[in-house]
Amino acid sequence: MAACKFTSGLAIKQSVLPVTCKLQNPPATLTVVLAQFFDVNGTATTLAVSADGQSFVIPKTIASGSWTLEVRVQGGPNPIPAIHVVEDCDASQLILTITDPISKMARAALAVQS
């Protein structure tokens, strides 16, 4: 495990990308179906989801600026419990929490610093 790259204010330096985010203790059969980065104009960049659906990567190609990360999961029990998406690092930096059982998505504002 490595030190966390995100700060608690969900800022990250562009130079330390890529960074991997993962589901923290998800229930069985619950997977990430889609993770997207939206810029200020609403243009979406789809992030690569791992083969097991448990993590995704914010790539090095993401430019510095203000972004909105949105993650949609599927499967799991009904209703789903609170699902935490964390940075894959020692301290498991919290990125966002999905709680809504119908939309099964959540968003977080991220700052990529040059």
Binding site: Q36, G53, E70, L96, T99, M105
Partner: protein, 587 residues
């Protein structure tokens, strides 16, 4: 002495069994605002990101709007969207149109298919045949549509909104179907016959009978049918009411098919739009600070895995009050009108994605056999009344889950076609719903129905395989003067395999005009363990019977029946909405 089986007792038993099921079900609808309050008090979620940012809490925000009809109407064509989206994923009517061998052109009876739930509007359904009419009523269908079209709301919490229909009730009623069959032909004698043996003074005589059809109209029979396993109606209701365990196959191995992501991508895009619009809504901007302060004031204890119920209620009430206040402010603010519209789109996208996800559950259920039990009370003319107990197993198969927009060029032409239909459906559905026209509009309703039809055809399972077993029992002990007569009238077994040909987008005008065509082959076996018994005034038409004859009986034996059938069309709903839609069936 005659021993009566009392068919109404059997019916009462069935009702009691169902009542027992209802009481055992007891699933509670989800209280979205209570959930988020609990998460916050547990430390699982935060007020700032999961409550104040309403994009992350849309279900509770919607729930809070229920008490305000203006707010509810402004942000959510939700139920109509869900209902219509699900309707589009139904099979065709033809698969579910042959419910009984009585009054039907089919030798083999089947349980109601998924169409009974999603294509009918829920009222009584009249199927007209050449010599009979069958009135069918599925109470679960009617209540589901009442709930989902907002006539009576589906319960989001235990009893809210008032009045509401619980999901548990819908699920347990869904597999239940009532039918009443009436014979409608007239003008011909029901049968003719001659005495087989030298007439005697006995009151029961053996005869050779030729059926000439029914005379009538008259009561033909009553059917109570309940699918006890694999009910597709129940699977549909589970999806519609969010009570099913999500068992989507997509993404299980982490390789989400690209076909599914378009719905989820649309949901995320609409979430971004709604969030972006919120930033320009002064009511929301002004609400955030005071709401955060008010909500924080309700959290008086440190996070706990098991928060006190009163604390949860306190915070939940404050969340709902704050959301209601926000909605009120948004409704009256000119800068928030686009935000409200964006939320309407967001909810529509959520429900489209959810419906698509749930569709996998229904599709997977249709791959499993559906087992139904059925009770029929038959009162044929000039014959003793009898009861039928029937078990039916049906498999629908032959088509995988439909694809939706994808750039995968390796897909088969049929997949591409289905994909295109789904794409067209979503496009037009969005257009219609964007008009924020309530479903009550006949024009919109007609457009939605017409819109759903091609997709329903494209997604229907083409093959069906049916097995049935039936025992017919006389309701009264036959006269002892009839040799070998017993309560057990006959036993039957049958099987049918059918294939549904649906027109495609490449089909010509004539093919589209004809619509769906079903080719079927069936075989039925019947062992008459007790002689067929004839009574009543028809005996006077028989040749060679003494006037003292009150009962005649035919030979016992085994009947083999083979049937090859080609059915055209899928029937269509006449313009009768709830409570009395009428369907004409192919004959």
């Amino acid at each position: 002495m005659n021993k009566k089986l009392r068919p109404l007792h059997l019916f009462a038993f069935a009702v009691a069994l169902l009542s027992c099921r209802f009481s055992l079900a007891g699933d509670k609808p989800i209280d979205y605002c209570s959930r988020i309050a609990t998460f916050v008090l547990q430390g699982q979620a935060s007020l700032d990101t999961n409550v104040i940012d309403i994009i992350n809490n849309p279900s509770c925000f919607f729930q809070a709007s229920l008490s305000n009809s203006s707010a509810n109407a402004a942000i959510a064509p939700a139920r109509t969207s869900l209902w219509n989206a699900f309707q589009s994923f139904s099979g065709t009517q033809q698969q579910g149109s042959s419910l009984s061998s009585t009054g039907s052109t089919n030798a083999i009876s089947k349980p109601a298919g998924p169409t009974a739930l999603v294509q009918e509007f829920g009222g009584a359904n009249v199927t007209r045949g050449t010599s009979s009419s069958t009135i069918q009523w599925s109470p679960g269908t009617m209540f589901t549509n009442l709930a989902l079209t907002g006539v009576n709301y589906l319960c989001l919490t235990k009893s809210e909104p008032r009045p509401c229909i619980s999901a548990g009730l819908l699920r347990n009623l869904a597999p239940l179907t009532f039918k009443i069959t009436a014979n409608t032909s007239s003008g011909t004698p029901s049968m003719t016959g001659t005495a087989t043996t030298q007439p005697s003074t006995n009151s029961s005589q053996q005869v050779t009978v030729s059926s000439q059809g029914n005379s009538g109209p008259n009561f033909g029979g009553l059917t109570v049918q309940y699918s006890i396993f694999g009910s597709r109606n129940r699977a549909g209701v589970k999806s519609l009411t969010s009570q099913i365990k999500s068992n989507s196959s997509a993404g299980q191995a982490g390789t989400s098919p690209s076909s599914t992501t378009s719905y989820f991508a649309a949901e995320l895009a609409k979430a971004w739009n709604a969030g972006n619009a919120l930033d320009g809504c002064d009511a929301y901007v002004n609400w955030k600070g005071p709401a955060t302060k008010a909500l924080h004031s309700k959290i008086v204890a440190a996070p706990s895995p098991n928060p006190d119920h009163r604390q949860v209620t306190l915070l939940q009430n404050e969340i709902e009050a704050q959301y209601e206040a926000l909605l009120e402010a948004m409704l009256s603010s000119p800068t928030c009108q686009s935000t409200l519209h964006a939320f309407g789109d967001f909810y529509a996208a959520i429900l489209e994605a959810k419906t698509y996800e749930d569709f996998f559950a229904v599709q997977s259920s249709s791959a499993k056999p559906e087992l139904a039990v059925e009770y029929d009370l038959n009162t044929p003319q000039n014959k003793p009344s009898y009861s039928s107990v029937r078990a039916t197993a049906t498999w629908l198969f032959g088509k995988s889950t439909p694809s939706v927009p994808s750039s995968d060029a390796s897909q088969k032409p049929s997949q591409v076609e289905t994909r295109q239909r789904v794409q067209n459906y979503v496009k037009t559905q969005t257009t219609i719903l964007d008009q924020a026209t309530p479903l009550e509009s006949p024009l919109t309703s007609k457009k939605l129905s017409a819109n759903a039809k091609p997709l329903a055809q494209a997604t229907a399972q083409p093959w069906s395989f049916t097995l049935t077993g039936t025992a017919d029992l006389y309701n009264a002990e036959p006269p002892t003067s009839i040799p070998s007569a017993s309560h057990l009238r006959d036993i039957q077994a049958g099987t049918e395999i059918a294939y549904l040909f649906s027109p495609s987008s490449k089909s010509g005008t004539l093919r589209n005009f004809i619509g769906s065509v079903t080719a079927a082959a069936g075989y039925s076996y019947q062992d008459q363990t007790s002689p067929a018994i004839l009574t009543g005034p028809a005996l006077s038409d028989f040749t060679g019977l003494p006037s003292s004859t009150t009962t005649a009986y035919a030979k016992r034996g085994v009947i083999h029946l083979g049937q090859v059938r080609l059915g055209f069309g899928t029937g269509g709903n006449l313009n009768f909405r709830l409570p009395s839609p009428i369907r004409t069936a192919p004959s």
